[in-house]
Each structure stands twice: as C-alpha cells, then as structure tokens.
C-alpha cells in the first residue's frame, strides 16, 4: 500500500445544496431511462429476429401491469428529458444570429419544444395512418 494518501474531497450529497444542481442531476439521470428504453427495444428486435413465438412473448410482457406502470414512468421521464434538452440548448449550441441580432435563449427553447410537439404529432399521425 502506498504511504501517500492524498486528500480527496468527499462528493456525497453536494448536489442537494442547490436547486440548480438538483435540476442538473435529474437532467443527467434521464439518460438511465433513455438507456432502459433502448434495451426494451433491443429485446424486441432480438425477439423479432427469433421468430413469431419469441415476438409474441415480448408483446405479452409489454401488456403486463408492471410493464405498463414502468412505461408510464418512462414516459414522464422522457417528457422531462425533452423539456430539459431544449432548456439547455441555448447553452449547448453556438450563438445564433438572425438579421444581426442574437436569438434569445427563450426563443431557442420554445422553438425546440415546438419542434418536439410537432415531431410527436407527426409520429402519431404516421402510426395512425399505418394502423391495420
């Protein structure tokens, strides 16, 4: 064992001190749900490749009450992800100028959220048109 033990500042609970940090941590934590949903879909694709019985097994699991509750929770987190993604977009994208004036943060966030609502509506409309 090394004799030298450098001081390491404890990290426990630092983010609970400030609502800004709490929002940051919740925003980062949405990635857990994005990953979980990707794995749900991966399971579906793997089942689809295995054949009809495996696919129907995956569908049956999706109909279970546990799955429904988890998906409702995932939906809530996913909506928060959408909101927070566009909330920080003014800071993550390069400054945008229109007619020599800088586009305000509020405009960027609102445009992003409007695009998200439009994309969701378009996806649902497409699914509706493709229904059996």
């Amino acid at each position: 064992m090394s004799a030298r033990r450098p001081y390491m500042r404890p990290m426990r609970g630092w983010w609970r001190r400030d609502p800004f940090f709490v929002r940051y941590m919740i925003r980062e934590a949405t990635a857990l749900i994005v990953a979980a949903y990707a794995l749900v879909l991966l399971a579906g694709v793997l089942c689809l490749a295995q054949g009809e019985a495996a696919w129907n097994g995956w569908l049956t699991q999706l109909r279970s009450p546990v799955s429904i509750v988890l998906h409702v929770l995932m939906l809530a987190v996913m909506i928060y992800h959408t909101y927070s993604w566009f909330e920080i977009m003014p800071k993550t994208m390069p400054a945008l100028f229109v007619g020599g004036k800088r586009v305000t943060a509020t405009t960027i966030t609102m445009s992003g959220l409007a695009a998200a609502v439009a994309a969701a509506a378009a996806l649902l409309a497409l699914a509706w048109m493709l229904r059996p």
């Binding site: 949903y37 694709v45 490749a49 996913m78 996806l123």
Partner: protein, 118 residues
Amino acid sequence: MKRSNAPVFWGLFGAGGMLSALLGPMLVFITGIAVPLGLVLPRDFMSYPRMLAFAQHWAGKSFVFAVIALFIWHAAHRIFHSLHDVGIRTGAVAKLIFYGAALLVTLLTLRALLVIGF
C-alpha cells in the same frame, strides 16, 4: 498532436439526445402504453407479420437501428460523464465499459436486423 476522439462521442451523444427529445416520449407511449392497452392504436398494430414487414423494409430497418443505437450512445456518454458527479473516479477502463456496452448494443441490433432480412 494526437487527435481527440471526443467529438465522435459528443456527436453521437448530441444526435441521440436530439432524436430522443423529439421522438422518445411518443415512442414510449406508442410501444409501451397505447398498443399494449389498445388505446388510440389497435392492439394488433405491432403484430408479428406487420412488425416483420416493417423491420424488413429499408426505411423501417434504418429507423429501428437509428433509434436503438443513438439512444444507447447518448445514454452511455451521459452516464459515463455523470460518474464523476456522484464521486466515482473514472479512467480508461470505465470509458471502455460504457462505450463498449453501447457498441455491443449497436452490434446486437445490427445483427438482429440483418437476421430479419430484407
């Protein structure tokens, strides 16, 4: 100077973040709530023949691949960089585990989509 690989991971993170912000909520609603309960969309919306045809079509195949791969790269990058915030010291091994997991999910998706055929 050695080129940094950070822009690649940042790019995948950004693309996955944008795609999931735009389509994530509605996808979760359709596949996890609406279709299983027969709300808005019929329950046989995702029946085997229909989903097989969807995954065999180039557009459906690309969509499924883009969603799963970009979602997982987004999440892996974000979770990896959050480890520091919860007091976990990371290095090359942690990076290999997180991006390796994302790569594994990507390759599994790709292989399944190829098995499904065209």
